[in-house]
Subunit: 418 residues, 2 copies
DNA sequence: GTTAATTAATTACTGTCGCGAACAAATCTT
DNA sequence: AAGATTTGTTCGCGACAGTAATTAATTAAC
């Protein structure tokens, strides 16, 4: 049963044609302005290396489609012919970005260019079943979507804390919501008529993804990970999640459930994890691990966990031995896991989110020392570790960016039907 | 419905032009024939989805460049106009594939299409310094390269067991050769005049890479990993190496030293590793780990290690308790590490090389059980695990494929200067 | 205040790429 | 022998990008 299993059943990827070229370049122009903000024709031409005429045509299409606007140049200052700038139209494409939290769900309407247009928040009904909760979510989204049907593109991006299959947004497990095996992606798509342009279709696209993956996207696009070639994003509060962006693509969100870095085994004689296994990394580095190491009892209310953690960090800052020692232990465990990940993935930057940013800011030495000891190369030993710069918004922004992706890779497909 | 299938390509910099289009498609045609063997115009047209005329032009260029030949069709049999097949010219592009082993280095001349044209083997001079050994290697390669200067493309691919920086082929550490910090890639490039087309340039391109990475390439291209979307290749004899192929690109070979999966930490109270750290995965799953678990003393000669391992496996097959238990322990450790890697990377296939193929064939249950216990999804729990189908040749083939890459992605650049 | 220099956008022209339709070729079927 | 079937080639078309000349708008220099 080994060799030469039939034929390579996988079809060769279709070869690109001139139409693909146009699609690609149209997307590149839009993406550039979306990511880097307003800029002139000349700047776009320079950045993309295209011919001037080409850029002109592409910009014209995007303006005509309502995604970009041409504005008169602000106060020339430089000499030479002043050049009008092109900027995104925030209402030209909007994403309903959703963050599913324990108490309720937060909704942000994010426009093209990354501008947050509005925010809302609704509590869960504690008595509601999973089905009812999802139905409520759909209802709220429908309401928000209906208010914005003028935009040529509208999408929904949901950040879900838990184990989510990127391919179709199937939620295998969302511990803090108590959800298990919920086909959230399909339910939202149906409820909002994703794809159905005319009849009842409120949005073009729905994505549901792991919040750590989306945090990685956010940091890569508009945060501390910008410009990295291979970014490792590690987030922790309760549990540890992570996302890997490799040369611009998210490792994990495409197919299965990759990126569950919190559950790599680091100690066969360790603590039992929520997932049922023993010795998962997250049992040694998440917030409860810190409390355990500090001898602080687990607060009964999940809501007060953050406060207890802040307390331990404060105590450590103040020099109380028990807290200092706890921080040292957890920081070391953080370093050990990071070292493994560096061996496996070779990131050129690491971004820490959640309480890890605070932990590392307080006590970088134990973490760095492990990397120094275990790294095989200067690159590995000295990987830059940065705090996440999008702490509060990471999931939102990532969800928005991710949901916007279809538009950015093929604006024409969205504009054509109009 | 089918939303969620976005393939995020978050890059922006280089915009493709029509020239890139042509380059791309020319490469696709060559790659297709190289990988899947001789085929007709019609088949190529179908596989690539290009217009018939386009394929005709591209094939014409490749034939004119001496990379492909047109052959009369074999026995029509079917009705319709018979179609000549196009096949690779093995001598049209050759790679000098090198495997650096303990006793000496092996050299295979591999032609386009993956055909091995010749093999050679030279022992190291035990008294030689590292510099002298490299000089010898260069000399042998020069000799082999000079014999084949007729080919439009010639390259060198070196598989090196150790820690190798993919970017430039810098060998940080090659334990079995006793090499440390050798700029092998640069030395070979200089010695063979890589790139210098006219004056003394014998080859176009030189790559040096980790043998596990190259094994992964070989298995992905022409072995048990063919067709996988995300392939995890794990190899072990002494030490554990690994390679990850994600959507057709090697995760480690591009930049730093990634892919050193043998050195992820699995037990803080474990055994000290050669690398100086404690509890590396390879201390629990490589050949010496098996011997240790079986209570067999480490043979003094590295050469007799394989024999000792085979003996333990044989004993286990025969049901001797100590050997059976040792195999169980190591298989379990294999499963633990694989489970972590599955969590992190989410491969859709795992290929085991080196003695791990035999170990798993003998005792798959403990490994599979760990994956079953720890996996979060059906995909993760049931990842196919296959033995490498290119056991002996993996490094060779991978080196050849990898060194051929520049030709396959841009045949015109090679053909133009002629 | 006029002129030169500088930078930018538009326009027209040219060459290339891939597509599709029509036609030609080679074999099989009836 | 005529039609059917599949394949390869040719040629016109549209789309795209590159180049160069022209026009436009501003600053700097005299």
């Amino acid at each position: 049963m080994a060799s030469q299993s039939s034929r390579p059943a996988l079809k060769s990827s279709p070869a690109p044609t001139t139409a693909d070229l146009r699609r690609d370049n149209l997307g590149r122009v839009l993406r550039l302005v979306h990511e880097d903000g307003a800029m002139t024709r000349a700047a776009i031409t320079e950045r993309l290396g295209l011919a001037r005429g080409t850029v002109g045509v592409l910009l014209d299409m995007l303006v005509r489609g309502g995604l970009l606007v041409e504005r008169s140049p602000e106060l020339p200052g430089t000499r030479g012919r002043p050049s009008p700038v092109f900027d995104t139209v925030p209402t030209g494409a909007t994403v309903l970005a959703v963050d599913l939290a324990v108490e309720g769900f937060r909704l942000a309407v994010v426009g093209l260019g990354g501008r947050v247009l509005s925010r809302h928040e609704w509590p869960w009904d504690p008595a509601a079943s999973t089905e009812q909760s999802v139905a409520t979510l759909v209802e709220r989204l429908r309401g928000a979507a209906r208010r914005r049907t003028a935009a040529p593109y509208q999408a929904v991006g949901v950040a879900c804390w838990g184990i989510v299959r990127g391919r179709d947004g199937f939620v295998h497990l969302a511990p803090n919501l108590g959800w298990r095996d919920v086909a959230l992606g399909a339910l939202l798509s149906d409820g909002l008529g994703a794809g159905r342009a005319g009849a009842g279709g409120l949005v073009q696209h729905v994505v549901v993804a792991n919040d750590a993956d989306l945090g990685a996207v956010a940091e890569y696009r508009r945060g501390a990970g910008a410009g990295a070639r291979r970014l490792l994003y590690v987030h922790s509060d309760v549990g540890v999640g992570g996302g890997i962006v490799h040369e611009g693509t998210v490792l994990g969100a495409s197919g299965g459930y990759a990126g569950e870095i919190g559950h790599m085994t680091v100690d066969p004689r360790g603590v039992r994890c929520r997932c049922g296994a023993v010795g998962c990394w997250e049992t040694e580095v998440d917030e409860r691990a810190l409390l355990r190491a500090a001898g602080v009892p687990d607060p009964p209310e999940p809501a007060s966990l953050a406060g207890a953690v802040a307390g331990v960090l404060e105590d450590a800052r103040a020099g109380r031995p028990a807290a200092v020692e706890a921080v040292r232990i957890v920081s070391t465990a953080l370093g050990t896991g990071l070292a493994s990940l560096v061996h496996i993935l070779g990131p050129d930057r690491i971004v820490l989110g959640g309480y890890l940013a605070d932990l590392y800011a307080l006590s970088p030495v134990p973490t760095r020392r492990v990397l120094q000891e275990r790294g095989f190369s200067a690159e590995a030993r000295d990987v830059p570790i940065l705090p996440a710069s999008r702490r509060a918004d990471a999931s939102f922004l990532g969800a928005a960016e991710y949901a916007l992706e279809p538009l950015l890779s093929d604006p024409a497909a969205v504009l054509r039907p109009r």
